[in-house]
């Protein structure tokens, strides 16, 4: 049974629809990504899940509860990390953890949580003196302190350096291994590809696609990328006639094609037939980046 169900969710601001009929369901124990360009309606969607916004239409259920009508019960099963939220600058890390633990009837022990997030050396530092990464880790700790079944993380690695970002990813995997369902909002493809079991790509307030990261890549037009430097110029018509071809690019004598497995075979046949040698031939899977651009352009 899904722990989060969003059905035909709609929300407008001043007549402009931010979310225009979004539906998805998150299963227990999965890391579910909400991916999309800036302003696509990702944050509004999760804010409806968190009960921070009242939907104009549609249905949202968190463990079967309505986040608005049953707000208090929902806050006990769902921990949230908001995109922009600060703490009182003069509060220390320890005091913030104690404060948030005091919000819940049965909080998690904050000490091991602080340890896992590498906050132990910073317990006596004031929030205002923390670096961006430390603030971010504290906000993850606070999202987990109520011992939630579901945690919603909105743009959690924005502003982190690459090392801190990788450490945070490891942490999210640990959290899930502990049985917590994760709803992850992001616009980083690498993050979504690495962490998510399934991804809903949201664009202009609608779900453009919903699949596993590999599934999203497969279903995009140019799932396979072939690049090489030909020993002699290739005829444009020959290239354009390749089966399954999605795009052709020529740059500095190098040819880059995207298409399907069928395209790969046809390119090899073409090269053999025209007796052209392909230097530095590379065949790679497209990344989620390519799939994402493809999916969000398709709905433009």
């Amino acid at each position: 049974m899904p722990v989060i169900e969003v059905t035909e969710l709609r929300k407008s601001y001043g007549g402009r629809p931010a979310v225009d009929g979004v539906s998805f369901a998150v299963e227990e124990g999965e890391i579910f990504g909400v991916l999309g360009p800036n302003g696509a309606g990702k944050t509004t969607t999760v804010e409806c899940v968190e009960g921070l916004r009242v939907p104009d239409a549609g249905r949202v259920r968190v463990t079967g509860l309505d986040p608005v009508a049953d707000h208090k019960q929902v806050t006990r099963v769902l921990g949230a990390q908001l995109q922009q939220s600060e703490l009182q600058p003069k509060l220390t890390v320890r005091e913030a953890l104690e404060l948030y633990a005091g919000f819940y009837p049965e909080p998690a022990d904050w000490r091991p949580l602080a340890e896992r997030l590498g906050l132990t050396p910073k317990l006596n530092s004031r929030f205002g003196k923390l670096s961006g990464g430390q603030k971010q880790r504290l906000s993850i700790a606070l999202a987990l302190i109520g011992d939630p079944r579901i945690v919603v993380l909105d743009e959690l690695t924005t502003g982190l350096d690459p090392r801190a970002r990788r450490e945070t990813w490891q942490l999210i995997e640990d959290v899930r291994a502990g049985g917590v369902t994760v709803l992850l909002v992001t616009h980083f493809m690498e993050e979504a590809q690495r962490l998510c079991d399934r991804i809903a790509v949201i664009d202009k307030g609608r779900v453009a696609a919903l699949d596993t990261p590999a599934g999203l890549i497969r279903r995009s037009a140019g799932a396979t990328v072939i690049s090489f430097t030909p020993s002699a110029p290739l005829d444009d018509d020959d290239l354009n006639a390749l089966p399954g071809l999605a795009s052709v690019q020529r740059k500095d004598g190098r040819v880059t094609l995207s298409g399907t497995d069928e395209t790969v075979n046809a390119v090899i046949t073409l090269l053999a037939r025209t007796r052209v040698t392909a230097h530095q031939l590379r065949v790679t899977d497209a990344t989620l980046d390519d799939a994402f651009l493809d999916l969000t352009e398709a709905t433009a």
Binding site: E50, G51, L52, K72, T75, R76, L78, G79, A80, L82, Q84, S85, E86, L87, Q88, K90, L91, E95, E98, L99, Y100, A101, G102, F103, Y104, P105, L142, G146
Partner: protein, 249 residues
């Protein structure tokens, strides 16, 4: 302890944070008594003044000092803090937990209220010990007037917190409202010494009414029901307006 409007962890935090703001501690808790001590050390302030009905100016300034702490607490302590909590998403973050952000408002009011009451006690004690100002002869009436004035001040603070969208605006309107409030309380000219018409007009403002009620109680009379009524009506109106316009984000 946790209810919708009171959470001990929130209260503990607000007490801590109040203690970490030297400015707030000084202006609310020390400044009123310090002002009384400075004025009281001027010899002419310790001589009976016929325009004050035979009271010494230092006698008249004790209720003023008592009111000053709670005016500063309500108008300068609360609005910037609450507006800052809203501006920085602290209230929003809190509303995703089982605790309602209202707990933060309650804690603010309790902390500032306690600070203002301690400040009032300090002013009364210094007045009595250093300058021989008699303690209020009608203590119950005095306490009632003081509490009503405190509620009015906190309600006014809550309304300003509701109306100000940013910390900067909150600080600005809090400071702007501070001067008329202090004038009505008699900081520049004790209410007893004001010309009749001015005194009557000031009596309809919350702090003017509070000053007159405190003076009555200090002299041994039960404070006039008009003054107490004015305070109560202001408190209700300000609270309703604050509740009407308050936004968590």
């Amino acid at each position: 302890m946790t209810t919708d409007v009171l959470n001990t962890a929130v209260l503990k935090t607000e007490i801590r944070l109040f203690g970490r703001e030297p400015g707030g501690v000084f202006w609310i808790m020390l400044f009123p008594t310090l002002l009384l001590a400075i004025l009281g050390s001027i010899p002419s302030f310790r001589e009976a003044d016929p325009s004050l009905g035979g009271l010494r100016p230092v006698d008249a300034y004790v209720p003023v000092a008592v009111l000053l702490g709670l005016i500063v607490g309500g108008l300068q302590g609360m609005p910037p803090t609450i507006a800052g909590y809203r501006e920085n998403g602290i209230l929003r973050r809190m509303s995703t937990t089982p605790v309602r952000p209202a707990a933060l408002l309650t804690a603010q009011m309790l902390v500032l209220g306690a600070g203002a009451l301690l400040s009032a006690l300090a002013a009364l004690a210094v007045g009595r010990l250093a300058f021989g100002v008699t303690l209020p002869r009608q203590p119950l009436g005095y306490l009632l007037a003081l509490l009503l004035a405190l509620f009015a001040s906190l309600a006014l603070g809550a309304l300003l917190s509701a109306l100000a969208r940013t910390t900067k605006i909150a600080t600005a309107i809090g400071s702007t409202a501070l001067f008329p409030a202090m004038f009505c309380a008699g900081v520049w000219l004790p209410v007893e010494a004001m010309p009749d018409v001015l005194g009557d007009v000031v009596g309809w403002t919350p702090f003017g009414a509070a000053a007159q009620a405190l003076n009555d109680a200090a002299a041994g009379d039960w404070p006039g029901w008009t003054h107490l009524g004015v305070l109560a009506v202001w408190t209700v109106l300000l609270t309703v307006a604050a509740a009407r316009w308050f936004r968590w984000e």
